[in-house]
Symmetry: C2
DNA sequence: GTCTATAGATGGATAGAC
DNA sequence: GTCTATCCATCTATAGAC
């Protein structure tokens, strides 16, 4: 603001600083996603990133603040993409998308990011882990900030006018459970059980399978009174 | 063996020892289920159980061994009950139970144990946590010992002779995901989203909802080639 | 078997030199 | 901004008295 012409002499330092922060973010996300939040120390991260031990506290304040920063960025990205897909589906269906399109907007972003060659493959595992192992600050956000899910719930209620909202909320809970179970460890377990015939690397096929299952489940007749 | 007539003077000590072990098991299971494995120290457990700090190492060897002991006991109980229900369903249906009966045998034990007044309510949360936060030993067991799931997969394959096993394994993965999402934190989140109309305390209704959703999902037409 | 005291290891955070 | 050295808290595990 006070310096409309950036001082080019500062650029290398600013770039170096940005590079350090980026290296920490990448290393931390990867290690946390693979080993769990409590099983990774500040020392592990700085060693992996090739930066100094003190740099996490200097740039982020604390280990927990670093964790929260990754969490905040990734969930924001994810929910933005989901909202974009839901909005697009609404546009295609005169403002009232069918169940299948709503579920696709909910599932597709995290699943597509999980494909082997995708840059955000690790980010998805990080987010899944945050749901069960997150710090107090993360859990606070997860429990109270449900605004992104609000739009999906409202869309489902509009798409299923004859179904009691209570039932719709439960089925949404079930659909989200299907999604959150897509952890590396669970894929491995399934791989053992199926003797190798399940291949989670085919992300589009998995997305179709999930949408098929959840959409049909959503149309189930209500048996409970 | 060498003392066929038990020395009655030993009984109080043996009882005291058993009581100490039991107090540790109960306190540890509860604290781990509520706060997570890494967020509970040996000091927290012994203080809560009202026993000595050294008693965990004396009776169980280590903190991890205690964790594993709880895990081993609870998963064994759970899988025994599931197998019993599956076996009973097979008896009722001439050895070939339908999808609904198989899913009920898979879901009912952990769900019924989760009801507010049930003694094993905490045990279920412990087991769910073990899936994502467990020690190396637990993850080893979870990944390689799939024998209890084997029977369920085989029953589903028999019940759905026209469906490719690959599809059946995936749908089983989805059904298990629905189940594993039943953590306290997820119920709370759903409660906020639904503005209080979802009540997870009605376990039988939740079981019916889950079976309805999963059974219908299992009958979905296969769209992927 | 129980308990206190402590060893021994690890982790997060920070002071201070450069 | 970076880095080293270090502080200090915390944890598991165990030795040794009773």
């Amino acid at each position: 603001m006070t310096e409309p012409l950036p001082d080019l002499a500062d650029a290398p330092d600013a770039e170096h600083e940005a590079a350090t922060k980026a290296a920490i973010l990448v290393a931390a996300e990867r290690l946390f996603a693979l080993r769990g939040f409590q099983n990774v120390s500040v020392r592990d991260i700085t060693a992996d990133a090739g930066v100094n031990l003190a740099s996490i506290n200097y740039h982020f304040g604390s280990k927990d603040a670093l964790l929260f920063e990754i969490f905040r960025r990734r969930t924001a990205e994810l929910n933005r993409e989901r909202a974009r897909m839901l909005h697009e589906a609404a546009g295609r269906h005169g403002g009232k998308p069918p169940v299948r399109a709503i579920l696709t907007a909910l599932f597709a972003p995290p699943l597509r990011w999980s494909s082997p060659e995708h840059e955000r493959r690790i980010a998805v595992q990080f987010i899944i882990r945050a749901r069960s192992e997150g710090t107090e600050a993360m859990r606070e956000v997860l429990s109270t900030d449900v605004s992104h899910l609000r739009r999906f719930a409202d869309a489902l209620i509009a798409a299923l006018p004859d179904m009691p909202p209570e039932e719709i909320y439960w089925r949404m809970h079930f659909a989200l459970g299907m999604l959150h179970n897509n952890r590396f460890a669970e894929f491995d377990r399934l791989h053992v059980l199926s003797e190798g015939i399940t291949r989670e690397s085919d992300t589009e096929a998995l997305l179709q399978r999930m949408v098929d299952f959840a959409e049909t489940g959503f149309l189930a007749t209500i048996m409970t009174s």
